[in-house]
């Protein structure tokens, strides 16, 4: 996988955003490390920015969540990967205004299983993108939302 390109994208991108935001006076300097991938809209574009374009679906990634959730403001999601060398997991929500919810870097020794809570604007697919030894893989799962929780 093209890790160097991704790293370059991250640092180059955040430096650019940093300069722009600082110039615009929008953010204090210390807050300027926000990764630009969070402002990208759409699953394909986010995947591309993560360096994960063309990732294959894998049954070794499991997303544990309820099928129907009343309150989209707090949706419990657990992602577990059995892929060897899992070092990063990203969570995307295809119908959210902000597609990328979170990226988790897992150092050696940290279990590739993680539970968190995310907001979902409406019924969507939650997509887990995993960076492992053999490249990028993904799994997705639809979660039905009764009342959206993106404010």
């Amino acid at each position: 996988m093209d890790h160097s390109r991704r790293a370059a994208l991250k640092t180059g991108g955040s430096a650019g955003v940093f300069a722009w935001l600082a110039a615009a006076g929008v953010l204090p300097v210390s807050a300027a490390t926000i990764s630009p991938v969070f402002s990208i809209h759409g699953v394909d574009a986010v995947m591309q920015a993560l360096g994960a374009a063309g990732a294959h679906a894998s049954e070794a990634i499991e997303i544990v969540a309820a099928e129907i959730v009343e309150n989209g403001a707090m949706v419990s999601v657990e992602v577990a990967s059995r892929l060897p060398g899992t070092r990063q997991m990203a969570l995307l929500v295809d119908q959210n205004p902000t597609t990328l919810a979170a990226i988790f870097d897992l150092p050696e020794g940290t279990s590739p299983r993680l539970q968190t809570r995310i907001k979902m604007a409406k019924t969507s697919h939650v997509i887990a993108v995993v960076d492992a030894e053999g490249g990028f893989f993904l799994a997705q799962r639809e979660i039905k939302i009764v009342q959206g929780g993106c404010g």
């Binding site: 919810a101 940290t110 539970q115």
Partner: protein, 103 residues
């Protein structure tokens, strides 16, 4: 000043499980008050968990993470009496760090 994160770290059979809840509004910047005014975006962007001085989890958040971000995960190692600490920084540049002793 924000409230402390709630953290619990317990070790069993050589694996330490961490449960944490940071206290943060995680405003997306899209929510409106009853008078129609937008609530400014205010959310944690980076959260790091350390075991003693070693990073065991590095998370980057967007505004789609729920209010009071909650995480459960495990890492190999850890012993009762050692430290697990959680540090975060938000989009306004505020920071907070809290720690607990592994039980």
């Amino acid at each position: 000043m924000s409230d402390p994160a709630r953290i619990r770290a317990t070790v069993a059979e050589g694996v330490t499980q961490v449960r944490l809840m940071a206290t943060h509004p995680m405003e997306t910047g899209r929510r409106r008050l009853p008078d129609g005014a937008l609530v400014a975006a205010h959310y944690i962007t980076d959260l790091t968990v350390l075991h003693n001085d070693r990073v065991v989890l590095q998370a980057r958040f967007g505004p789609s993470v729920s209010r009071d971000p909650y995480l459960v995960f495990s890492f190999a190692g850890g012993a009762p009496g050692e430290t697990v600490s959680v540090s975060w920084r938000d989009n306004r540049g505020d920071r907070r760090s809290d720690s607990v002793t592994i039980r």
